[in-house]
Symmetry: D3
Subunit: 293 residues, 6 copies
């Protein structure tokens, strides 16, 4: 019953699962995961979705069990997987910051830099990344795999940890101090090298990448429309370069035009007061599903 | 305190309840159900909402206890209710498929068609539909009402079941095979025959139907805007008939136009790559609340 | 590490918390509250957010521990706080009604008006408001602070209660009758008098007020577009004043125009049927993020 | 892999499920229900447990698909199943009262007795019981099957309901008045007539009945021990017949004896103060797992 | 329908509710609270149970709306209620420590003793207790009522707090330091003075107190039995005074006796190893329901 | 603040956490884990409890960061930790079976024995155990670490898995077949070799082991008492060897004795019917907290 054209696509199970399925839905691929079946439903017969731990996706893409997948840059590096990287994504979120793997120690630890790790013990989920980092800095230390709750260990069981963080607030709550950053990580769409050479698969992957990019782009953009007296238009556009390349249309009301554009959502809060000050009226902001340049 | 003009409207309690209340909200009728009261609040004094099991709504509409209601085609048929059907709706969902009542047996059962049911026992929630189906095929078999967990019974307690399914995945997970489909079912807005003859009630029902239709239509549609060089426009429109009847407006940039249209959400994933290939730029997709043709 | 320019902003903890954080997010200020830290994250380094019980915010704004905050009119009054009121908001909700503090008694109580309270005992969370109300009506009665579950007390423990309600349905469910309304209350943005005199703080507060107002405004508005034959346009606009000041643009189709406007969401359900009757076609309604006049 | 000696045992799925599995565990048969499998695990290879709706168990026992099962007297009667009743159980609970199916109407209904139902409509889950009850009282009325939320219907959709209740508090909360009781119901262990004739099956069923009875008996009993001066013993035993047949043993302390017995848990609260008054000291009450006379 | 003899009994709603209902059940009074009714069910027709906030029970007992109730010593003191205290209870728990109201400040606060509070602001739920404490120490400071989340306020909004704690761990987690203890508090059974003079009510209250005391006593006791050679018995009893007043009985095995006693559960872990060392065999520990001396 | 005598005790975080804390409580050591602190409270000042993943406990005991801990035999073996094993425990449960690590493949896989694994890929959480097993059988295969959801991988991503199971039901639900068992595992109390040489620590560990053993023993035992005519006693004891070494005491009723003993809970269901047949009366079974021989 296997279709001739089928793309095996790995998505991350676990903490990223809901976000990834939501993004795929916004891209136009509706996935539903049932507790009764390990094969998720997707409304595209050319796709076979598999939910796999983010830590393992790059391994199965490399080996060809999957044609492509979405996983973090960190785990591609940790596994040292040889895969084709199709694109990088930003999953928009409150902090707008990539995840970072950092070296952390208790607030009152004498360890101030990587050099102080000599002869110490470090617990981490990313053993290979940590060893590579130590080699780079020519420091000899013991690295042990941590099965979880790594932050708690730094106070008693080991001398330092390498842990993932976004804002550092969880580290601070555990009274830990960041010594160094080993790696910043963002989600990536990766493909198996053989699959990437297959024209149908490559085209399919590129199409998904385009739509996913469009959906993610739209999460951090909004549409903005406003009315302005024609005589104020030039000044408005000159002083507010954020309004690049707007659509201008005439209004029925003599001497007024409508200006419409797409801008970054996070500058709206600065822009709207300025627009008002520049004479704009009836400013409305509306949401977008996709933005493809 | 009863108002002169009041429409008694039954909505399905249970698994469809949240979806129905959400759709009604999108149509413009905000309903809130309190655990302390069996009468839901609705922000329209001309409506009296009652939450009733989907299985029973058609019965109470027929008898006139309700003026109208939303329920499934299946239960109208099962109850044999004499009611006026105002409209059919599609509650958009992942699968975009109507629910089906199917005859199912264990994967390794010798039963291959309805004819093999002769002398067998069938468990189902829709006893009348099943008896009618057997009569139509001139098969004599025993039909018993199932209070639930019907899928489990097929392996031990009865010979076959008639059960509802969307994608068949729950049946597959229970190692059951579909033998035949008895009925496809979608949500319907139905009215009591007397109420339908009352001009005020009929007009009110039709208004709700129009708005609900508009809201549901909007769930499966999106707005699409893009810029294109005027010279490429004709080709674009000819090769992409999905863009029927778009709004074309001139841009301030010489030689470029903006094209805007409403399209089915589920073709966007095919269309956007083609639009890009045809020279469209700045493609944006935006969500809709209602679409009324 | 404190920044030179920092605005201390109090938001209501508890039942209003999620709604307030959602509204602030819509205004462009993304806040995330962690269970591990009492200082919420906000993506604006000029803001320091504090989550404080609505009952206490005005007190801390008055004393200057906070520069400004959002709280209910009721608690500003109850506390008798001397603060600058920057603006009033409507948090849109199903009922579109402000909260009211009402005097309530058992359905069968002989108490029919405030005068009948003489010598009685009243339980309430707003002891000061209630005492002021009694003084105004020259009624002597005992007022005791209620720690909660006030509605239950009216039947046995006290003679009357002063309780908050929106639709009255919870009071009705407890078989209570409303005797009088003491106060209607809506959310307010308030500022400390000193902070309001500081130019930077005032400007920052006004900017937040503008954006929050824009976001709340947008919750109760929608965008509406439709096509209409030019010959029907004048009639349409004359008969439907709700369509005030629309944007009219020519369509490529000869003799047809597109009409676009922003209207109150809650009149859409009346308007769309009328628009259709007036010859409008292809009516679409779309959601808005912000509306700033 | 089926064992020669196997007893197919049906237990009620749904609201009684947890209680029944707990009682079976107390009887010595540990059952665990997995969400992944419809066949529960039981630590007795001679048993095959099936979880089936209480409404349906008697049907499948009658037909021989199950050898025996636990279900309510009400559903045996409703289904008119021909089965052997092995024993009646009391599942101890707060109220110590059997469930009752009652005829209920709105508090202000003119219906005062079964005779007033003539020509009325009654909604119920137990259609057969209700029809039999009407026939017995020679009353003609319409009975319709209710899929749930029956209590709400009595106010608008039908004239009366037949519903199950224990303390009547849910009926009171819905402002309904009990007119008559149709049936009291307790859990029963029933067996298929053929299975009951099979010596091995009968012996196995009787053993389970004995242990279950012992476990349920123990739920409403406690052990009681106390010391008393020998001279007060006769008076104690004479005045407190509840202490029937106690074990008396001498204590090392001259002139004192220990008295030990098993009594109903619900009389302890009356008995202990009396025991103390009669001179008993060091009274202790301890829990029991099983009591078999 | 009110019985002649009825005792109105207030139990604490909220955080103590489940524990109190469980203890009452162990005492022999089974209570069930329904979400649909504010009057809990109790299997004793002479009792009328009311669930009321612990903060308010002493007030309603004092005024006679309740005959008696269970509440904390702290709230009796805070309210200054004039009631009869029938008994003190220990609700056994992990820490076996009474709750304490403590004065707490940030770890690095200059406040070291109550004297340092002069001119400061203190937030607390127990305003009266705190004012009395300050008066006793002749310290003038401002005390304001805290609606909750008091621990968070100590860092920014006030100078000190008076808060309840058991182990101090929540204060430590908030980086607060305990300066002084104002009050230790345990649950109390209190009665209205008039009710206490009524013979029937007093006897009923005393009976409940006896049974509740017996049930709580049993929570911290266990039964212990062991066999020992008769020749070792005297030494065992002399060296282990914890085994006070045991029941000694002869065993069928020549020269051996059985020893049985009731002891504090929390010394078992020390005692059992010592018993074993002293020659005891077959030591068993069993649970108790009630212990009444 | 560290006490002179302190035993650092590691307990397994995660799926075993609740069970372990419950068993420790039964042994007499009450532990409470707070979400606010990583150091659990225990009511014994000589203990410092740490919750650590079962996979890591043996590592930290070996290194001396912990004096002792409870973990599975499997993870001690997987880590190859050099620790002193103090005792083995059975955590009583429904199945009364130890956990097993098994080699499993899809039901229709050609792999029938370990020999067939040659050149294949195996996913497992216990990489070292699996490699050791392959070496023992002289089979070369690739073993990769699985981060979870291992059962799902066997169908597509690898050729076989090594996974933990109790009853095999989860494997069967995933349509996997067990090929071989690598290791049976039970919980163990282990100690660091140095700590074991310290007299105080060893004695403390042994005391905990004794009490824990006593508590676990009691979970699978019950007390049994019955009355029997003296003339039937000898026969009873001879025919029912399970009643080994009972306590016999004379009853006040002439010619009758009371028999009391401790037996395995899981034979009660066979024994009670036999006791009754042998003439025993008034049989009661009661629960135990601890049993120490």
């Amino acid at each position: 019953m296997k279709k001739k054209h089928l793309l095996r696509f790995g998505l991350p199970k676990g903490s990223l699962q809901d976000a990834t399925i939501e993004k795929m839905g916004k891209a136009g691929f509706n996935i539903s995961v049932s507790s009764r079946s390990y094969v998720p439903y997707v409304d595209d017969e050319e796709l076979a979705i598999r939910m796999i731990r983010a830590q393992e996706i790059s391994r199965y893409v490399e080996h060809g069990y999957l044609d492509c997948g979405i996983t973090g840059h960190d785990w591609i590096q940790e596994n040292g997987s040889k895969v084709h990287e199709v694109g990088e994504f930003r999953f928009s979120k409150v902090t707008r910051q990539p995840a970072r793997w950092v070296l952390a120690v208790p607030e009152d630890s004498p360890i101030k830099s990587v050099k102080d790790l000599k002869g110490k013990r470090i617990a981490t989920e990313v053993v290979n990344l940590t060893k590579r980092y130590l080699r780079k800095h020519k420091v000899k230390a013991e690295v042990e795999f941590s099965w979880g709750a790594t932050e708690v260990k730094a106070h008693e069981l080991v001398d330092a940890i390498v842990e993932i963080t976004e804002t550092g607030s969880s580290l601070r709550a555990n009274k830990l101090r960041i010594v160094d950053t080993l790696l910043e990580s963002t989600p990536r769409l990766i493909a198996n090298h053989q699959s990437w050479k297959d024209p149908w698969k490559r085209q399919k992957i590129e199409k998904i990448a385009l739509l996913l990019k469009g959906a993610l782009e739209a999460e951090s953009k909004v549409g903005l429309k406003m009315n302005i007296a024609h005589k104020n238009l030039a000044t408005l556009l000159r002083t507010l370069p954020a309004l690049r390349n707007p659509t201008i249309s005439n209004l029925s009301q003599e001497g007024w035009v409508a200006v419409e554009t797409i801008i970054d959502e996070h500058i709206v809060r600065e822009l709207i007061p300025e627009l008002k000050a520049a004479g704009a009226e009836g400013i409305i902001e509306y949401p977008l599903n996709k933005v493809v340049y």
